[in-house]
Subunit: 331 residues, 2 copies
């Protein structure tokens, strides 16, 4: 038996998928389904190749009612920049949910992950940030620093953006790119992490740091922080003392943050949080409350879920089916 | 940045990969490396889609010294035959070990798994079967019943083959196919599981059974059994009483058989085995002894490892590079 598989390149995927309100809505539906317990989502497969400073993660999920499911393979090889290659690569394989046959290969080099991750950040800001955000900030200077700032602006149209990169040159380049993106609508400035935290109402941390970058004493009323950098057992962006000092700690998936996210450091610290973690899906579903007033300090910890990969995979598959893009391979 | 990926179909893979002594040697090297502790092999990612009687497994491993590593996605959807489709499908993605860049997509529909699984069975027979096997037997009537019989014959050229399928029609078709394969060299007969066990010196079980098919009282001196069917938490081909009665229980990977293989049933039974399990890699490495005399009853439990997938992936990649097969995709 032979059958047809569609293969799409990153350039083609970029033509049909952008970071917008629709993508944030899709993530909201996805997290709602996830927290309702209907989604089948196994633990992440993770393999380290220490010899080459590399790691590979595989994420997947089955969302009942969807025609297909995605299996995403994400290599991250951190010697690559010295070889003139990007650190992050990979592909998404999209399968028919009824038969397990391969429907499409999205050779996206991580682009779909970039978009669904930024959209989840936009969702966290929509759900939890103070209504009135005039100054937002990002810690980090990579792709997610750029995209998270854009996603945040969709839901909280701030007028000042602070960029606090650990490497000053990278931070300046990131700020330049964001100036170009926002034009006159936003004033973009670089600063240190302390200033970024103290002066913003919405802060997004986007680094692979293994040491806390945000200290508890910098927190202030009227602040939401989304920490999207930590997705491995050794990463940590926010001081556990800051997490326990917050009025609310939300996350994408509790079973992930306790081993891969910021909550792991809270457990390791032995500190007692004011409140138990809540999942953003439960906030969407009305099972629990999010921000109750402007003064609250809220934190949202995102580790990235296979459910998001399946959701964006299905969205992309449907969008591409309406186009003449891609090559068909008979296998 | 763009780069080239090679894509190969099942038909092309069949041109360069066959079940032979070289493939069995490759599996021997792989299990030796695995048991030496050098291989990085994370637990299998497994997702059930109960609604469609489906499951998807992902296996991978990094074998130091190899230029690449494989990530294998294996869907099994057991309503497919009623839709006129094969149950097993999937692909192998082959990555550069130094950079994580995708080097090749093997759209093999499970063919590479079939071959590496059969070759591991041939290796188990080479290491553990009595030297003098005149009668071999297979339980089951699927692809692995056929391939395991062929692999066994490479290392123990028996003259009689018994086929005990649970479905008589399927068993007869399987026996016919094997008659055609072996020609006059082997007499192929169908029988029940008891006769197959009592009359053979080398028995291979190849079913997805969840109830034991082989009873302890059927065992006899001068017998080796390879159980390759169980690879999920609910499967079980051999009565735990038979396993503990054997003189030696070997396996591909202890951390897998205790949850996915026959050893799981031994643990659940509460029975005390005569000996602790050994890995076949340890036998190859001379760390432990295999069969010591012709009279022994030995069992080898194979669950299938990501190390085998990486090994055959690397082999295939190198063989294909010498050909003009495949299409090149710039991504």
């Amino acid at each position: 038996m032979t059958y047809d598989v569609k293969l799409y390149t990153e350039a083609e995927l970029r033509q049909v998928v952008t970071l917008d309100h629709g993508m944030i809505d899709l993530m909201a539906e996805t997290f709602a389904a996830l927290s309702q317990g209907h989604v089948v989502m196994p633990p992440i497969l993770s393999m380290a190749i220490a010899e080459h400073h590399g790691e590979v993660d595989v994420k997947t999920a089955y969302v009942p009612g969807m025609d297909g499911f995605a299996m995403k393979i994400s290599p991250g090889f951190f010697n690559n920049p010295s070889l003139g290659l990007p650190s992050l690569n990979g592909l998404v394989v999209f399968f028919a949910a009824q038969t397990g046959l391969i429907k499409a290969l999205f050779m996206d080099n991580g682009y779909l992950t970039d978009i669904r991750t930024a959209a989840a950040g936009g969702l966290a800001a929509r759900l939890l940030a103070p209504q009135n955000v005039t100054t937002a900030a990002v810690i980090g200077s990579g792709i997610q620093a750029r995209l998270q700032a854009q996603a945040a602006h969709l839901v909280r149209p701030f007028t000042t953006l602070l960029v606090a990169g650990r490497n000053p040159d990278h931070a300046e380049t990131c700020a330049d790119d964001l100036r170009q993106h926002f034009g006159n609508a936003v004033e973009v400035k670089t600063c240190d992490a302390e200033t970024a935290t103290r002066e913003s109402q919405l802060l997004i941390t986007t680094t692979p740091s293994t040491q806390p970058l945000i200290k508890a004493e910098w927190l202030h009323p009227n602040l939401h922080i989304t920490a999207m950098g930590s997705d491995q057992g050794e990463k940590n962006e926010i001081d556990p003392a800051a997490i326990v000092a917050a009025d609310l700690y939300a996350c994408d998936r509790f079973s992930q943050v306790e081993t891969l996210g910021e909550w792991r450091s809270v457990i390791a610290s032995g500190l007692s949080p004011k409140h138990q973690p809540v999942e953003i899906g439960d906030i969407i579903n009305g099972q629990t409350q999010g921000r109750r007033d402007e003064d609250m300090i809220t934190i949202c910890d995102l580790t990235g879920t296979g459910a998001q990969d399946t959701a964006i995979g299905g969205y992309v598959f449907d969008r591409l089916a309406e186009t003449s893009l891609g090559v068909t391979i008979t296998i």
